[in-house]
């Protein structure tokens, strides 16, 4: 009976995501009713698209990549949050706990300062995030004490260093041009996303999501104490390493594509737990869908609310926090 209820939630969520994606194609400042969307999709699939068609350009080069990216990043951050919460055996952890955001943000600023070329900025952001987590991992290696606490402490240290390096850069850049572009980048937006970005980001993100999806049952064991998990035959170091790598790749790419988007990785796992409980076998697929819905919804609001777009990181928390608070009050923190 329970099983059917969970299946029901699952298909309901998938359906909502598809519906939301379709609706998202039609909304925006450029008028593009649903009829035209269907016509354009049909002609794109079965015949040649008319050249210089503004509606086709808006649909396929502006809206579609943006929607795909929102779903990819939202789903990725959600499942990264689930994975990290399992690894750290703590539901308060978000994917940034190991310093990936701080490292990637520093990379963004460095890129803007040195090259000001979008692709190089993205690469530096990704590299910065990976380097930060690698440092955290090396620093947190200890064979004598609780590795999880060591990792958290190492993450705090590395984050602090990269955050102050970021401030140092911001203090020294040109106040009129470079500083605003650093700040706006870090506040997060999907507005400039092109199909090329999607092509570049989708492969590693999908791979990382797939890895966590395949490991979903093993995540249950990771939440036990290390010794318990090991006594049950789990290779804790390997599994933990894989989850951390997957979560880091997702987070680093998300900063490199659309700035630091907080809250998705923290809140969506909890929303998932309210629906299907703590069992990661069910939680992972549900979190993937909820993450996609959540970020796509937020991005739509960012597009529509005012004539100038509101940065994503503001909205994810400004909308997410009250909603989360309400749910928390209603359920009393008892997930299920």
């Amino acid at each position: 009976m329970n099983k059917w209820r969970h299946k029901g939630y699952y298909w309901l969520l998938v359906l909502s995501l598809i519906l939301l994606a379709l609706i998202s194609l039609t909304i925006g400042k450029y008028e593009l009713p649903f009829r035209d969307v269907i016509r354009l999709v049909r002609s794109a699939l079965f015949s040649q698209l008319p050249e210089d068609d503004i509606s086709a350009f808006v649909l396929f080069s502006i809206r579609l990549p943006r929607i795909i990216m929102a779903i990819l990043i939202g789903s990725g951050l959600a499942v990264a949050g689930v994975g990290m919460q399992a690894v750290f055996k703590n539901p308060l952890v978000s994917p940034r706990v190991l310093g990936v955001s701080a490292g990637a943000s520093f990379g963004v600023s460095l890129g803007i300062l040195l090259f000001n070329d979008p692709i190089l900025i993205q690469l530096l952001a990704f590299g910065g995030g990976m380097v930060a987590v690698l440092l955290t991992y090396l620093l947190g290696q200890s064979n004598r004490s609780n590795t999880v606490i060591m990792l958290v402490l190492a993450g705090i240290i590395v984050s602090a260093v990269f955050t102050s390096l970021l401030s140092l850069l911001q203090y020294n850049v040109d106040v009129d041009t470079e500083l605003p572009s650093i700040i706006y980048w870090l506040m997060g937006s999907l507005s400039g996303i092109k199909m090329d970005d999607v092509k570049m980001a989708s492969f590693p993100i999908i791979l990382a999501i797939l890895l966590l999806f395949l490991l979903r049952w093993k995540l249950n064991l990771l939440t036990l104490s290390d010794e318990e998990a090991e006594s049950l035959g789990l290779n804790v170091k390997l599994e933990r390493g894989l989850v951390i790598i997957a979560a880091t790749v997702i987070s680093a790419i998300s900063v490199s594509m659309c700035g630091t988007i907080g809250w998705v990785g923290l809140i969506t796992p909890h929303l998932g737990r309210m629906l299907v409980g703590t069992n990661h076998q069910r939680l992972v697929p549900v979190a993937i869908i909820i993450g996609g819905i959540y970020l796509l919804l937020i991005d739509n609001i960012a597009r529509l609310l005012t004539s100038a777009e509101i940065p994503l990181s503001i909205l994810t928390a400004l909308i997410g926090a009250p909603v989360f608070a309400l749910l928390l009050k209603k359920t009393g923190g008892n997930w299920r």
């Binding site: 329970n2 399992a86 055996k89 703590n90 539901p91 395949l214 490991l215 979903r216 049952w217 093993k218 249950n220 064991l221 939440t223 036990l224 104490s225 010794e227 318990e228 090991e230 006594s231 049950l232 035959g233 789990l234 290779n235 409980g277 703590t278 069992n279 076998q281």
Partner: protein, 252 residues
């Protein structure tokens, strides 16, 4: 199965914690490990299981060193029941016990029907099938401890190692745990190693005892020869009249 430790020594940095430990436990046998806090009982158990590696000496299963076993193979042979504590994420009883099937579930796989069947069977054996859908954090201490034992059993081990299974349990629940364990030892032909602070439980249920007294000092043998007033008073540094007072007040 015959599980043996031969000349096991464990030192942490310069400090020698365990020296020259020799013990044997086989199917149908229960071994109780007793000793004061901080003397190294948990370390001994961890070394036996291979969580920590002996500095010298080794643990053997049927004469083969456990170093030759992979983590996975080992957890099919030896089940471990940790000390009772709450879980940061609350699973249902079924989900938690299912985790014991991990050695049979491949890297990217999910539990199959067979795994669920095993879980149900073991819980039935404990008369706990009604708890299947309950949340683990809502169970009583005694129930949770039984569930942890069930989790160790679903992998079908031949040796069960328990770290203070009576921790925080009342006398009735302690009795229940030990009755369950000695029934398992007698019927299902498994061996049992139990870390305990209660000599009475050792006396009543275990055939063999190991009394860890200090860094290089331990007694090992038949329980009735090891666990007696003199040895206990000496090991725990009790006054010689401790047991007399206990006797008088409780039974006098």
């Amino acid at each position: 199965m015959i599980f043996r430790v031969e000349q096991g020594c464990f030192s942490y940095q310069e400090l020698v914690l365990l020296q020259d430990i020799n013990l044997t436990v086989q199917t149908g046998e229960m071994l109780a490990i007793l000793g004061p806090n901080g003397v190294g009982k948990t370390t001994l158990v961890k070394c036996m299981l291979g969580f920590l590696s002996w500095s010298k000496g080794e643990s053997l299963i049927d004469g083969n060193s456990i170093k030759g076993y992979s983590r996975n193979q080992l957890s099919k042979k030896i089940g471990y029941v940790p000390q009772l504590k709450s879980f940061p994420f609350s699973y249902t009883v079924e989900e938690l016990v299912l985790m014991g099937r991990n050695p049979y579930i491949n890297f990217f796989s999910q539990p199959q029907k067979e795994d669920y069947c095993q879980v149900e069977q073991v819980l039935k054996g404990f008369n706990l099938q009604h708890l299947l859908r309950r949340e683990i954090n809502q169970l009583s201490g005694g129930e949770t401890q039984l569930i942890l034992i069930a989790r160790a059993l679903v992998a079908g081990p031949e040796l069960l190692v328990l770290d203070e299974p009576e921790l925080n349990l009342d006398l009735a629940n302690q009795l229940k745990i030990f009755e369950t364990l000695s029934k398992l030892v007698a019927e299902e032909k498994i061996g049992c190693v139990i870390n305990t602070h209660h000599p009475i439980n050792a006396l009543q249920y275990s055939q063999k005892s190991l009394l860890l007294r200090g860094k290089h000092d331990y007694l090992y043998g038949e329980t009735r020869e090891i666990v007696n007033q003199k040895n206990l008073a000496q090991t725990y540094q009790l006054s010689p009249t401790y047991f007399n007072i206990f006797n008088q007040k409780l039974f006098g």
